[in-house]
């Protein structure tokens, strides 16, 4: 590809930043119009209770309160959907529990919404919510998965007779058992993947309005795709999608969690229609902890069968996935997605996996950065280290021995996926070399002299991104000579305005300021599948590249008449079409004014659907020190060598990787949702939920060793989640390596000083 000043591969600064660093970003809560009413949701303080709202008159009498709504007021509104019910071994699909927009008769987790109060101010709405008379009859609750699957556990959904929703399986159990029976070594680990809260810095917010004249609704919110939101919310409300206009302005972080349809959206729209008013709701931080889906929360048993040389013969995984009280949009599919990536970068021909989603009286769980793949990679890389330890093999040697080799590509996994390309050992060797793995012993000795336990650990991961749906979009030459991109993905902070402008600049050689990217408007942009699964660049940019190349040809065609030259003699240089080797040229602005430059000829539409996922992969190396006196961990070095196929913008790419690692380190060492045995949420503020701060994170050395993907024309692989996938096992393997000097072979996340301290004793 020809290097262009602002084009693909350039580390250009972001065009979004000027507005963001000056405070002119437009987030939902910044857009609440004067006079809008405010909504507040009354939420259950109990994990499980029957309830009756006995009186709302006092609430309605609170000054400023305009309406108090309970479940009965929304009889015509449908339930929140779960679009991913899983089948059992016989193909019988699990039953879906109802997920009403407001709880009726029973609340099933702390934070379950029971009423909505609308008032002129948020304060008055809160006062109204406090004045609602409500009788709770507490029921036994269960928050822990081990307890939930035990006999006699309180049932979240009594009609199902069990808290286990289904047992979904993959692979041939008998065949797998046979391999295990004859294996020289069997190594097993039991791993907790702790529950996390997304904690995007912008809490969710929504502004709903209704136009009685047209019957049209508008929802302004921060989501991960206006079209998906529109489709689902319209379906819940029982209206035509065309009647709902969804708008996103700037979105302050999403991480998967902002991608779901939440109950507040249809409720606010319905209330806006009933009251004929614009209604705004802004979640506060504590509400985020109970109203937005949580992430992770798996218990996994994984077992490897090995031969005498340490070759992996077969893998078994048994996953319990905490669903929370209701099934969020993709909930049971998330651990299943992990099952499909269970064999990772290794050549393991026999596999059996079982995944059981479990109901508990906790906040629903759904996709969070990585969604199933971090869980899978964490289990596998912990298991591989355990294998190395058991067999007395070097950790790099056992990996190298078992990696899928480049010569085996395309490689079909025992879980049914096809890896197109990948050089896993190459990335591992490069990462270890950069991390000076060979020189570790000397550093370890220096630490030991100071009484510190030093460890180094690494993880080789592979993940899947950008599978499934495609993207259609367009680029057009505007009348003023600038360009407009319409696309249905949604930046949540990744810098799409910059990345997409670079793709256009690659074909049309214009500065990025001349490319306007329009996203987040379901009327302006015809269709889209939003952002998630790291798809926006591998699908969106691949599509936009086609559109831009197409437009370049169209513009040359328009220019060829004026310049009296054949299209094949024309080049595009610095915003002009020029006859190669001459100074005869016409600018884009001039082309736009040509009589023949009809809107159709100035517009190029393209669509791209990936035939298969892309498979980013790489190795993370972490080096750390543990203070045995206190259990405190200090991260010393962090090295990453990743294969993202192609680097569209190295600056943005590094940003994605760093951010993902920060979340992975947070999960490994600091973060964890804490429920007590009665389902009471104990960690619902930043004081009690330990977010990583600047001091907690190291600086990183990141480099790429790209092997272009063959599933999209630009060779791209998705990079939004990889950081969170490689990091937890790298950190934990390093930690266990450090602690192994004192005989510790297992510790679960989050490895807090208290846990480490206990493990050392």
């Amino acid at each position: 590809m020809k290097p262009m000043k602002f084009g693909i591969g350039q580390a250009v600064r972001r065009v979004e930043d000027v507005r963001l660093v000056t405070g002119h970003g437009r987030y939902t809560a910044d857009e609440i119009p004067e006079g809008a009413l405010r909504a507040v949701f009354l939420r259950s303080p109990h994990a499980h209770a029957a309830f009756r709202i006995t009186d709302t008159s006092a609430a309605k009498a609170v000054p400023g309160v305009r309406a108090v709504y309970v479940a009965a007021d929304f009889a015509d509104v449908g339930d929140l959907p779960c679009n991913a019910p899983m089948p059992d071994a016989k193909g019988k699909v699990m039953p879906l529990p109802p997920y009403p927009v407001l709880a009726k008769d029973v609340v099933r987790h702390v934070g379950d919404a029971v009423a909505m109060v609308i008032a002129d101010t948020a304060e008055n709405a809160m006062a109204g919510a406090e004045a609602i008379a409500i009788d709770y009859q507490e029921k036994p609750a269960v928050s822990d998965m081990h307890r939930a699957i035990a006999a006699g556990a309180p049932l979240v959904w009594p009609q199902f007779g069990s808290n286990v929703a289904v047992a979904a399986v993959m692979g041939d159990k008998a065949k797998c058992d046979a391999v295990f029976a004859s294996a020289t070594h069997v190594v097993e680990v039991e791993i907790v993947n702790n529950r996390l809260v997304s904690n995007y810095m912008e809490p969710r917010a929504a502004i709903a309005s209704f136009d009685a004249a047209t019957g049209g609704y508008q929802l302004i919110s921060g989501t991960q795709g206006v079209h998906n939101t529109r489709g689902l919310v319209a379906k819940i409300m029982g209206i035509e999608p065309e009647k709902l206009h969804v708008v996103n302005h700037d979105v302050g972080g999403g991480f998967g969690t902002k991608g779901f349809v939440y109950r507040e959206y249809p409720l606010l729209l319905k209330a806006a229609q009933k009251l004929g008013a614009t209604i705004a709701w802004v979640s506060d931080r504590s509400e985020h902890f109970v109203a937005d889906a949580h992430g992770r929360d798996n218990l996994t048993k994984a077992t490897m069968a090995l031969d005498g040389e340490g070759r992996f013969l077969a893998l078994k995984v048994d996953i319990l996935g905490n669903m929370g009280a209701y099934l969020s949009q993709f909930a049971p599919y998330i651990p299943w997605l992990g099952v499909t990536m269970a064999t990772g970068p290794y050549d393991i021909s026999v596999f059996y996996g079982e995944m059981r989603p479990v109901y508990t009286n906790t906040v629903p769980v759904d996709a969070y950065r990585g969604a199933g793949r971090p869980e899978a990679a964490y289990v596998l890389e912990r298991l591989v280290d355990a294998c190395a330890m058991k067999l007395g093999l070097a950790r790099d040697a056992i990996r190298a021995r078992n990696f899928v080799k480049p010569s085996q590509m395309p490689y079909k996994t025992a879980t049914g996926r096809t890896y197109d390309v990948g050089e896993f050992e190459g990335a591992m060797r490069q990462a270890l070399s950069k991390a000076d793995y060979a020189g570790f012993a000397a550093r370890q000795a220096a630490s030991a002299a100071k009484g510190q336990l030093r460890g180094i650990g690494f993880a080789s991961y592979i993940e899947c991104t950008a599978w499934g749906s495609g993207e259609e979009g367009s680029v057009q030459l505007d009348e003023d000579g600038n360009f407009t991109v319409l696309i249905g993905t949604q930046s949540n902070g990744q810098g799409h305005e910059t990345a997409y402008a670079q793709v256009v600049a690659q074909s049309l050689d214009v500065p990025l300021e001349r490319v306007r990217v329009i996203q987040g408007d379901s009327q302006k942009v015809k269709s889209g599948n939003g952002t998630g699964g790291s798809r926006s660049i591998p699908v969106g940019a691949a599509m936009l590249n086609q559109a831009s190349e197409k437009l370049a040809v169209q513009l040359k065609e328009l220019a060829s008449d004026v310049l009296e030259a054949a299209v094949s003699d024309l080049e595009i240089i610095e915003g002009r079409v020029i006859i190669g080797g001459t100074d005869r040229a016409i600018s884009f602005a001039e082309i736009a004014k040509l009589p023949k430059a009809t809107p159709e000829r100035r517009l190029a539409v393209a669509s791209f659907s990936p035939p298969e996922a892309t498979y980013p992969n790489g190795t993370h190396v972490c080096e750390l020190e543990v203070d045995p006196e206190t259990g405190a961990v200090k991260l010393l070095r962090y090295t990453i060598c990743d294969d993202f196929g192609m680097s569209l913008n190295p600056l943005l790419l590094a940003g994605q990787v760093h951010g993902g690692i920060a979340q992975g380190i947070g999960q490994a060492l600091l973060e964890g949702v804490t429920y007590d045995d009665n389902g009471q949420l104990l960690s619902a503020t930043f004081m009690d939920y330990c977010m990583p701060r600047a001091e907690d994170l190291p600086s990183y050395h990141f480099e790429t060793r790209n092997v272009p993907s063959i599933t999209n024309p630009l060779g791209l692989k998705g990079a939004g989640e990889a950081g969170s996938i490689g990091s937890t096992p790298a950190v934990m393997n390093a930690l266990i390596h450090a602690l192994s000097a004192r005989g510790v072979t297992h510790i679960d996340m989050p490895a807090t000083p208290a846990k480490i301290f206990a493990a050392l004793r």
Partner: protein, 488 residues
Amino acid sequence: MRDAVRFMLGDELVRVSGISASLSVLDWLRGTARLTGTKEGCNEGDCGACTIVLVRPRHGRLDYRAVNACTLLVGMLDGAQVLTVEHLADGARLHMVQQAMVDAHGSQCGFCTPGFVMSLYARAKQPKSERVDAAEALAGNLCRCTGYAPIIRAAAMIDAHEAPDQWDRRSKETLARLEALHDGTTLCLGDGDTCFMAPASEDELAHLLVQHAGGKDAGRPTLVAGNTDVGLWINKKLMRLDPIFWLGGIDSLKQIAESNDHIEIGAGVTYSEAQAKLVGLFPETGALITRIGGVQVRNSGTVVGNIANGSPIGDMSPLLLAAGASLGLRRGEHRRKLALDEFFLSYGVQDRAPDEFITHVSVPRLKPGAVLKAWKISKRADQDISCVMMAVWLDYDGARINDIRLAFGGMAGVVCRARACEARLRGGPWTRQTLAAAQAQLREELQPISDMRASAGYRLDVACNLLERLYIETVERAPTRLPDASLA
């Protein structure tokens, strides 16, 4: 009395009256002034998305401080200049701090960015010799997207390329305008329903409190200094506080008085202001004192306020308890002195009448041969609540313990001393044997609770280990004492 708070918003002089006593600066900025660049990320002073910079005259020059707008009440802006993220760019030209954030790719989703920009800006305004390292300056700001490293790089870029900005060029004029606002009158701000009082003198405060207590249907007055804790009662517990008395208008309470044997820290002195003095008094606690809260919290919160609210996990109280500090209290014309030990009665209860206020805390200097050490054990270095905090004052001659005070936070419903353990140690030889006896005594004496932060067993183990650390640092490794980077 004046019924309007007066401050500069950027370059504009603003007078605000007729507002609720508990209206936060964040809500006022976003709602009334429509400056929405300042964000609400948590509304409890933990995330820093609402960081703004307050500029006040100090020793004849302008002092720039990053503070959280969410726990700041509008009345507390009296006499200050408020700078928000919207005030930094000079026309279309980005401020150097903003440009550094762009160049380092320090912003992704952008929601936390205004807070980071303002924290970096305030840091850049400190004289280079006083500038803390970037990670420390940013400890009060959360970012979920970047992993912080790019923002740390932005800080380094700022340090490398600084030049006066438009506010520096106007500093003389701003100083004069702010000094003119300092009129020595008491501010009484309210909406008819609630009242925010900012007395102009200590006498006025004493008088008003007693007068209020004698009034009919008088609500219990809430004394506020930095509002870093009371702000949460307002934002999170939705408590209606009336009246609020703010100590920040009283110059005499902002003094640190020094004598040969002690220093007196006034009730209006912030952590940031007291920090250097305290580190000077107790050099071995430096790592702890300089890392209480984040910068924003230290710039608002006061040493006395942290004591006055009686939190069992306050960081300052164990330290001052071990140091042998005492409080000065005043009620009307009556003044009394109280040993800090006697102030904490039980969980949530302190020995202070509703119309009484603490004027200062008096901290004795270390006598020769004595040391004061303190360790805080928490999950995270910054902005975290202690699982265990231990502070110890030790007077020893190398072999024998002449006297000792051991104070703990996080081990009971109040900050407490381990007196039985002290008795075990006092007068004894400072040996491993004495240590073991003291540890056993500690296990008997302290009955911490288990909560999500730590189990009772962990707390006891850590407390005993900290005692051992004390032994190691003062005996076994005494000649070359460990550096004080003892935050865990």
